[in-house]
Amino acid sequence: MYRIASKKALNPTVTQMEIVSPLVAKKAKPGQFIILRVDEEGERIPLTVAGTDPEKGTVKIIFQIVGATTEKLNHKEEGEFIQDFVGPLGVATHTEGIKKVCIVGGGVGCAIAMPVAQEFHRLGAEVTSIIGFRNKDLLILEDEFRECSDRLVVMTDDGSYARHGNVTVPLKEMLEAGEKFDMIITIGPLIMMKFVTLTAKPFGVPVTVSMNPIMIDGTGMCGGCRLTLNRDGERITKFACVDGPDFNGYEVDFDEAMSRGRMYFDFERKAHEETCNLFKKA
């Protein structure tokens, strides 16, 4: 059992928790993820590590309440316990040799992008961050990004806060103005990462994307998290849990990944509704 050391709502649908797990806290690096189960009968869900405190032995997770399991997790309070917490899994984000980086985060993906931006800042790289949200109410982590970024652009889809538009708009402007990034790292919805990759392509800037497919064990056993890369005219199967979650954006078959991500859409929506009804009755 793993204790919830702290809990904080970042916005109405996004919650931050610190979980006591000293071994994971000691090891986890930006870009890696954990798998948790809320209770004995629960499903295993992957969540990316949003930060660690090795001294306190805690691991920060930030999650959006999208399904039955995140709904149940959000009903747990500080001081309560979750059943299972395992990690750190996946390969950490590569930082070597990158002096000038652009981090593009979307929605709750910004929770994952933040520790990556912080890591580059700590390593002395020049960090540009572009973070986008559907609207002002869903904005998270603006102050944290401001602290670790040399330049920060905040976007909202509906213009209710900061600049109006998609994250690709300022990215394109910067690239057209001759900005030379060593790497663009984008974390968020698949459709956003696909368009960030397409935006960067004419300028020849390398793009790293963080994939978040359906997973079960997360340790390289089940193969459910597989995705296809197009490399040198060949289609290669990779497993996000052990080969990723970071991949070269130019190689990822985004359309296939989006299709696979919707495999259990109906099941998940129904399960979430049922869980919400349970909590309403209680």
Binding site: F85, I216, T237
Partner: protein, 469 residues
């Protein structure tokens, strides 16, 4: 006394009943049946059966005790060499091991050794007051990576010798393939849990949610004070055929399909982990895992389940009993067939059609057997122009696995072969001092009992190594 030429049948659930439930297929001997079957053992002096057992259980010894209705005596004999008798009695391929060597088998049917072992183990598990083995702690600590058959056996043997053993398990439940892979109807999870409990009583600690190679490395285990390490991390990533359509929705690896059903309990009503149920299912492959996947799909409510295998019945590698059970239950064996493409739904007028990307069928080609390959198995050759489409909406690939890279990538000096399997000597020692390995992590996908044999061999070698230190 006249000897019964035939093995006593073990009662099973009727095929038409069991095809719709996840309860155990084979029901086990009653006491009368067990004693009667035990009488068939000739108690040969040279004990050929013992040589056929990878863990060398004293088979005539425990069967003699059954004849005398001394079941406690029987379990104590089995426990001297086997850690998981209730598991072995159920999933070992006895017909190619102990029972294949049985003297009775020369003229008649061999003694039902597996069924008798199962009877004794189940008797033990049903006792409230269990006989315990006396253990003298020797002060040495050993770490075991993975709680599957090889790891549990290695841990059990070392614990008996007085070692303080900690087993590190990546998943949330101990048992490895016994809980995520082998289905409930063939090996009830309560049985595995009982075997694990017995180990804990013998002083073995089990730490779940620790991924060696990630949470901790092999080197860190030594820093923590463990004096030897056994790696039994099991088979790894599932293989796919690399044919078009394998990423469509409705294509599973057998590992994923079985893990969803077994470990995550997707077979229950209202599961929290989803799985595709019903419809028409094709399972590609001919091993025990393929049989497990096919029979699981059937029990999940499939209207039709095919086994698609590129060779013929003679080459089918699954245990005979599993194949027979599958056939009785109505699994349709499409032998000498090989998939060439998986077809998916695609509505050209509506890219948002929710059916898009789901499996609609599988193109296969008929095969014939050609010349024998290096292993002596006749090589299947496609018959030109014989393609056809099998109408299915789920495809399960059960064509083996490749070793997991997590430990290899984080352990300097640990040598692996070209397939990624850890290289060991005959005692299970790897290229690193004090590090031993066994089971699928070494051999690639194999059987529960061969993994147990490897765990046992390594336990012996670890004991010799640490006794000298």
């Amino acid at each position: 006394m006249a000897l019964d030429p035939k093995k006593h049948e073990m009662p099973t659930q009727a095929p038409e009943v069991r095809a719709h439930n996840f309860n155990e297929v084979a029901l086990g001997y009653t006491e009368e049946m067990a004693v009667a079957e035990a009488q068939r053992c000739l108690n040969c002096k040279n004990m050929p059966c013992v040589a056929g057992c990878p863990v060398n259980v004293n088979i005539p010894g425990f069967i003699s005790r059954i004849k005398e209705k001394d079941y406690e005596g029987a379990i104590l004999i089995i426990s001297r060499t086997s850690t998981l008798p209730a598991v072995c009695g159920r999933v070992c391929p006895q017909e190619t091991q102990c029972e294949s060597k049985c003297t009775m088998g020369i003229k008649f049917e061999p003694v039902g050794i597996g069924r008798l072992e199962r009877f004794v183990a189940d008797w033990y598990n049903s006792q409230e007051e269990k006989p315990v083995l006396p253990i003298e702690p020797n002060g040495h600590r050993v770490a075991v990576v993975g709680s599957g058959p090889s790891g549990l056996t290695c841990a059990g043997d070392l614990a008996r010798l007085g070692y303080k053993v900690t087993v590190f398990e990546a998943l949330h439940t101990a048992g490895g393939v016994l809980v995520y892979g082998i289905p409930e109807f063939r090996l009830p999870k309560a049985i595995v849990a009982q075997e694990v409990e017995t180990l804990k009583k013998n002083g073995v600690d089990i730490e779940t949610n620790v991924v060696i190679g990630k949470t901790l490395t092999i080197d860190e285990l030594f820093e923590m004070g463990y004096e030897a390490v056994f790696i039994g991390s099991g088979a790894g990533l599932p293989n796919f055929m690399n044919i078009p359509g394998e990423s469509l929705k409705g294509v599973y690896s057998a590992n994923e399909f079985l893990t969803r059903s077994n470990l995550m309990k997707a077979y229950r009503d209202n599961p929290v982990t989803p799985i595709m149920k019903g419809g028409k299912v094709a399972v590609v492959g001919g091993g025990n895992v393929a049989m497990d996947a096919a029979r699981t799909a059937l029990r999940l409510g499939a209207e039709k389940v095919y086994i698609v295998y590129r060779r013929s019945m003679d080459e089918l590698p699954a245990r005979r009993e599993e194949v027979e059970h599958a056939m009785e239950e109505g699994i349709d064996f499409r032998l000498l067939n090989n998939p060439v493409e998986i077809l998916g739904y695609n509505n050209p007028d509506d890219p948002r059609d929710p059916k898009n990307g789901f499996v609609t069928g599988m193109r296969c080609i008929r095969m014939e057997l050609g010349e024998p390959d290096a292993k002596g198995r006749r090589r299947p050759v496609p018959i030109p122009g014989s393609e056809f489409t099998l109408d299915v909406d789920t495809v399960i690939m059960a064509i083996g696995t490749s070793p997991n890279p997590l430990i290899k990538n984080t352990t300097a000096g640990l040598e692996v072969n070209k397939h990624g399997g850890i290289i060991v000597n005959e005692a299970g020692l790897t290229s690193r001092e004090g590090v031993y390995a066994g089971g699928d992590a070494v051999t690639g996908a194999a059987t529960v009992i061969s993994a147990m044999g490897a765990g046992k061999t390594a336990a012996k070698a670890i004991d010799e190594y640490l006794s000298k230190k």
